[in-house]
Amino acid sequence: MAVPDGIRIVLTRAGDRVLRADIGSTRLAVADRLFSGKAPADILPMVALLFSLCGTAQAVAGLGAVEQAASRPAPAAHDDARALLVLAELVAEHGLALARDWPILAGQPPRLDAAKAMRTAQRALVAALYPDGDWLTIGGGRLAPDHAALTARLAAMRAAIDAAVDHPVAALATADGFNRWLDGAGALSLPGFVAGHGWQALGAVPFAPLPADGPDDLADRLAADTDGHFLNRPDWRGEHGETGPLARHHRHPLVAALLATHGAGLLTRLAARLVAVANALDHLDHLAATLPPGAGAGGGLADGAGLATVQTARGLLVHRVELAGGRIARYQILAPTEWNFHPDGPLAAALTGLAVDDTLDLRARLLVQAFDPCVTCTVDMGEVHA
């Protein structure tokens, strides 16, 4: 029994251009099969484990959807605690790219020590918030922030990010700072590599960001999606919007300046990820300093439907749950990759029309990395048309 979990991209070439990029997926929308009929409290730890690439965001989205469906909201302090955990995971996911994947693509040795230090600090955050380990409790566990430990662990994460880019990341989130870095320590980084090859505008496509909280008809579209088509190939009013760091931060001054100069191309996308990290680290410091303690909310579980959205490193993650008789009656997960790697979506558009030469494979892989799939993704060269 094989578990399908990948994306395969095949580039069809004609003359000196990529004629078509076919994005095929062997992923399964399995959440409903996995969780239907089970008790909500039993499935949340499994959500965190089975979707562990962004397991915190998945679990927080699941908690939020279940709590809304059950009419049992957690006290507000838990919203901040969960936001802190999700943001820290966002930083760690981008940080893995900065420390490990970006150097490899740029022909440099990966910064595995920085990547490991970041992961270690991030994983220790739950214990500094929920000392009993009950953060997945519906209605909230016992929240008792250890502010000193939180501050220390977030400082370790920031130090690891700074080490990965050879510069304080906060100083990169301005046009001057970014450009100085590209000319200096960043010249060997992936953005420097891209700029050095003149690939700043590579894959620039018409930019169609999704709203930050998702399409306004999301709940209705998911409720009506009985055959799973929307989950696998989502659209917003018939269009194929994108989600992720660029969609989230396109109004940031640095990102807006790069959009104006290079369009929604490769360098703009990489810079948006740096901005996402810098913003998240600042927000994390604020949350860690102000987070109050709080008990959970007791009570039973009503029947109903609930939807929760979370911003992950890769973009908008949506969980929708229906409860009946205290059990999961329906469970839907819409992941950001479904938007960005949609067969007619922004990555397909970015790959279509690329020049065919001996760097095509590398340029295609750079674009895939910029869109940041949450699963294995291969790029193959398909037919050559006359």
Partner: protein, 77 residues
């Protein structure tokens, strides 16, 4: 969908492990892990599978695998 099924380590050669899940084997780097890894341990792989992301205790891993197997069996019925 970013599934991360725990994979069992069937062989180790230096910093590279061969892991198995649902009959499929693949190789993955152990360089990102803090903990020591032995044959028989269970790992969760990161995106792309090139690096192991985490070590999972055997009981949790078997529970997750059984959970997944049941869902896939139900889906094929």
């Amino acid at each position: 969908m970013c599934m991360a099924i725990p994979s069992r380590v069937v062989a180790i050669d230096g910093s590279i492990a061969t892991v198995e899940a649902f009959g499929q084997t693949r190789q993955t780097s152990l360089l990102m892990l803090e903990q020591p890894v032995a044959v028989g341990d269970y790992l969760v792989l990161g995106a792309g599978g090139h690096f192991a992301a985490d070590k999972v205790d055997a009981e949790t891993a078997r529970e997750a695998i059984a959970f997944m197997a049941q869902a896939m069996t139900d889906g094929q019925a």
